[in-house]
């Protein structure tokens, strides 16, 4: 193998390589190799030329990223023209489902995140002041994350419905419905958060008085309920997906017990909450969430890496051969 003199190797070069791998995926090896060779040589020449001229690594990275981004339309057009209009893009079902499950690992914590404010009647004034003290960009960022998460959950629901309809149509439909509804609730929660945030600003400015306190607290309580409902719906959706995955041996069989554990902990948390055992309820809820996220993570990675069902025992193979 050729020993290539290392340039400083910017992160941008790695991103450009990743983009190349993405838009050439599924093409014949010769075509991919030529593209990869051209890019590899170009990146090396570019970096060594600029570094020799004393350009900072960050500037070189920006140049490379700029060249990559500006060339993306040409790359995509080339790919489409190469395949011709008759060819269908084929997305392996397992990979798509795996990616969707992994996306839920990120989306669930955002969608169910508690607003972090004690909605008790006594100290609500202080809580509202605390919210109003947060910089506006921070509050806008929270809203943007929630909106993005809501839309992504609706999209994930549609994705699961599409990916699983050939196997478990009913389960897929119910799971998709649960996820999409959780997405809608997250969107509503983001709108409520925006209102409470606005009221906090008014309250700090000395406007609104008691009315602002009462209304904002009511909205904050509503927001908590929305987050709880979204969590229950998300959990239901994931349990349905876990059931479908176990039924068709799409993920390692032991994972079903992780989903069962999560469901039991969640149910126990609800019971503890009704019994006014707040501390226990929070602990159980945390355990349920961790188990849920663990299921999503392992199932997502298994599907993404192409899990091929349970291994057949040797004696069974021998019997079959005989």
């Amino acid at each position: 193998m050729t020993a290539i003199s290392p340039t400083r190797g910017t992160v941008a070069s790695d991103i450009a390589r990743a983009w190349l791998r993405l838009y050439t995926v599924g093409l014949p090896a010769g075509v991919r190799e030529r593209r990869a060779q051209e890019l590899e040589s170009d990146l090396w020449e570019h970096e060594s030329d600029r570094f020799a001229g004393g350009t900072a690594a960050s500037m070189v990275g920006i140049e490379i990223l700029g060249r990559m981004v500006r060339g993306m339309p040409a790359d995509l057009l080339w790919r489409f023209h190469l395949e011709g209009p008759q060819m269908d893009i084929k997305i392996p079902f397992e990979r798509m489902t795996g990616l969707l499950l992994l996306s839920l690992v990120i989306l669930i914590p955002i969608a169910t995140s508690i607003n972090g404010y004690d909605t008790g009647r006594e100290g609500w004034g202080n809580e509202l002041s605390r919210l109003g003290d947060n910089p506006e960009w921070q509050r806008n960022l929270t809203i943007a994350f929630q909106v993005l998460c809501g839309v992504a959950l609706v999209g994930a629901g549609a994705g699961f419905s599409l990916a699983l309809r050939g196997r478990s149509r009913n389960l897929a439909t119910f799971a998709a419905f649960a996820l999409a509804t959780a997405g809608v609730l997250t969107l509503v929660a983001s709108a409520v958060y925006a209102m409470v945030s606005e009221m906090a600003t008014e309250y700090l400015a000395g406007r609104g008085g008691d009315n602002a306190l009462i209304t904002s607290r009511t909205l904050a309580v509503g927001m908590d309920r929305l987050a709880e409902s979204a969590l229950v719906l998300l959990a239901t959706g994931v349990y349905l997906l876990a059931f479908a995955a176990a039924r068709h041996a799409l993920v390692p069989s032991w994972l079903r017990w992780v989903a069962v554990l999560s469901a039991v902990l969640l149910a126990a948390s609800v019971i503890a909450d009704m019994g006014a055992a707040d501390g226990a309820a929070w602990g159980l809820l945390g355990g349920a969430l961790v188990a849920l996220l663990l299921w999503l993570l392992v199932a997502g990675v298994s599907l993404l890496l192409g899990y091929r069902g349970p291994a057949v025992p040797r004696h069974a193979l021998a019997a079959e051969t005989a």
Binding site: T2, I4, S41, E63, R70, L77, E94, R308
Partner: protein, 141 residues
Amino acid sequence: MLAGANRYLPIDKRRYLLILCRVRRKPDSLLPIELAILGAGLNLRRRGEDEFHGYAVAKQIGEQEEARRLTAHGTLYRALERLEQRKLLESRLEDPEIASSERRPRRRLYTLTAVGVAAAQAAARPPTAALPRQNPGAAAL
């Protein structure tokens, strides 16, 4: 896993490509980026570099046009490929030992063909029917 289950999700992209299919070029026309590559190749050739690689072309175009930005990867290599298909350029991979001795990846080296040189010279020539020049910089455009 279900036996015989559909493992793939087909997405028919025909409908999305209708707009692209309607874009047609005249057979002999050259795009501005292709003309710029031929011009850069001609300049490099005049400097004694008969063979050149992609990044050298991008840099040369940048210098010729006093552009601050280098040509994008996708635009550059797709244009080089089109010129090669039209026999205006030829390419070969350089000797692996040279690349190895210089401890860098192998370059794809391009050369202007006779047709390519003629096309580049024709593109660089000012139009014969042009009116007397009022703006000295116009010919370069």
